[in-house]
Symmetry: C2
Subunit: 352 residues, 2 copies
């Protein structure tokens, strides 16, 4: 059979393709006068090699500007060097920020991420996972997945998993459960400390684990102070501005009294803020508002939003590191710093 001329970078004939000087291991080997195995070994440091040859090979690599083809490496090693990252919505600043740090974390270990978004829908999420698995990712990072625990455990038997925002115990699952319950409680207690007693809560997506934690935190703070829980003060949101707006509008129009609001995430808080404004209610003059996530934009709302702060960057880094550890068979060591309150200007003591 005569040699093919197909080349990795050869493209459908049109335009002046740059003679695609794709250099292969073989060429380097020939250039250096050694076998390709030797070159490979030098490249991977998998065996001692006589000094002279090593130098010759290095020289050849430099001269030819050789770069190993990761596709071939993947196939030969049976490792794709990619990991899947599933977010719920790429559009949300929260995820975007997390992705950015996951990206850098992964890259450092030479893995490349495949991002996908599940849109808070389990069926979309399933489709994404399917796609990722098919792409042969070596692990999947699931940011606040909404899949049932059972499926996750099942999935973890195929690839290692990193989960954020919830806890699932299984051998190959690492849960970065940054305990939203506790953080939500922190926010609520802050409001309580400021003297507020009628605190409304704008919830997140119905029956989502993380959203549930936030809700529970709210309730437990109330319970902790022996204060009654009033279901009328809880309105459903969807983690988006629009949902927050609608929720707040409903709340106001229902006529329920409240002096403070805790929104399950900052985006909802933005929406709520506008709704309050529309009804002539000033923040924090008439109602105090606190958010959750402390998005970068929250320092620039009017007034700047008080919010629960967690280092998203840290979470991302940690997820990436843990993923690599898991893939390479090390026991991941996770250390997340606790959430804090970014106190800004959207809250104030009830009776100054």
């Amino acid at each position: 059979m005569k040699p093919r001329k197909r080349r990795m970078t050869k493209l459908p004939a049109d335009g002046p393709t740059d003679a695609a000087p794709v250099v292969t291991l073989e060429m380097v080997a020939r250039e250096a006068g050694v076998s390709s195995s030797t070159v490979s070994r030098i490249l991977n440091g998998t065996a001692r090699v006589r000094d002279g040859k090593a130098r010759a090979v290095q020289a050849a690599i430099a001269k030819l500007r050789f770069q190993p083809n990761p596709v071939a490496q993947s196939l030969a090693r049976g490792k794709s060097m990619t990991v899947g990252v599933l977010t719920q919505s790429l559009e949300s600043p929260f995820y975007a920020e997390a992705l950015a740090s996951i990206e850098t974390g992964l890259l450092r270990a030479n893995y490349s991420p495949f991002f996908m978004s599940g849109h808070w829908r389990d069926e979309d999420e399933r489709r994404c996972v399917e796609h990722l698995l098919n792409r042969r990712v070596e692990g999947i990072i699931l940011l606040t997945s909404c899949l049932p625990e059972r499926e996750l455990v099942e999935l973890s038997r195929q690839v290692p998993l990193i989960l954020t925002g919830r806890r699932v115990d299984a051998p190959r699952i690492v849960s970065l459960d940054y305990d939203s319950t506790q953080s939500a409680r922190l926010a609520t207690e802050y409001l309580l400390d400021q003297g507020h007693r009628q605190i409304a809560f704008i919830a997140g997506p119905h029956d989502h684990p993380d959203a549930l934690q936030r809700y529970n935190g709210y309730k437990s703070a109330l319970a902790g102070r022996k204060l009654p829980f009033n279901a009328k003060l809880v309105v459903a949101g969807d983690y988006y501005d629009g949902g927050g707006y609608a929720a707040m509008t409903r709340l106001i129009e229902a006529g329920t009294k409240f002096t403070a609001v805790f929104a399950a995430n900052d985006q909802s808080a933005y929406g709520a803020m506008l709704a309050l404004h529309r009804h002539g209610l000033g923040v924090p003059r008439d109602v105090s508002l606190i958010g959750f996530d402390d998005l970068p934009g929250s320092a620039f709302t009017i007034p700047p939003l008080t919010s629960v702060h967690r280092s998203i960057d840290e979470i991302g880094q940690c997820a990436a590191l843990a993923m690599v550890d898991l893939i390479e068979g090390r026991a991941p060591l996770i250390r997340l710093s606790a959430a804090t309150l970014a106190i800004r200007e959207s809250t104030r003591p009830l009776h100054p």
Copy 2:
């Protein structure tokens, strides 16, 4: 040599790996009693196959739940089925939204994107491109790249390119140049139509092509009305909230008079809004403010921000489609709808 037991999904021994039933073409072929070439052909529809066999193979595929290994396909075909997407900052809602639609667009054609962020720094951008090239992507989508034209042309000889926000002409480059100049002019003219004459401009990153276009649009609108251009009214920003805040603060403190502000992008506008607020200036009461990009959040600022709207989603879709066309040697057909003004509540006529 005895057969290896390495498997694509086989992982470093620990935890109950799920017996990784990785099915290969060969197994399907054996199961169906045909050769692997036949299976491959059926899979790709690259040749007619007798009906009976085709059915047998389909059955075998279904039974074994076979999924071709994309890594092997990539190697054999010399096509990686991946494309690189370079954003400037994953954290920015603008890019996040674009990525989401690029993702879906690409996926539909069975390509997977690799996202990376260049942070508005050419050297970072270069590094990313390097990495992508090394990963053997078949094309790169550069969202508002800041690389010099020369390099882009050079790069386009290696892989096809899609550029947004600027125009570069070369055989394998498609520029999605949605003409920011014109759009910026639109915004400025709107302000002029409202009777404003002292219009400040908060610029984008220094010497960035797209930022420059917006600046030019501002100037040309002024020139179009034979109005003097006042350099004191132009302040440098960086496309981020913080930069907008700083710029506006500087402007106010310099004491220059102005009745309206055009911010080169919405994020800058957010920052500017806060700065105005801090100085007791109401929007739009005391100064009208207009942004650019119409981020999803802009409908929820207080007051909701008037902004230049372009369908980011459309841009993303278009970029993805064009990329696929370019890769597969078709002539991409691009049709972007013009920018419009999303008129909300941050602007008002000067003398009502």
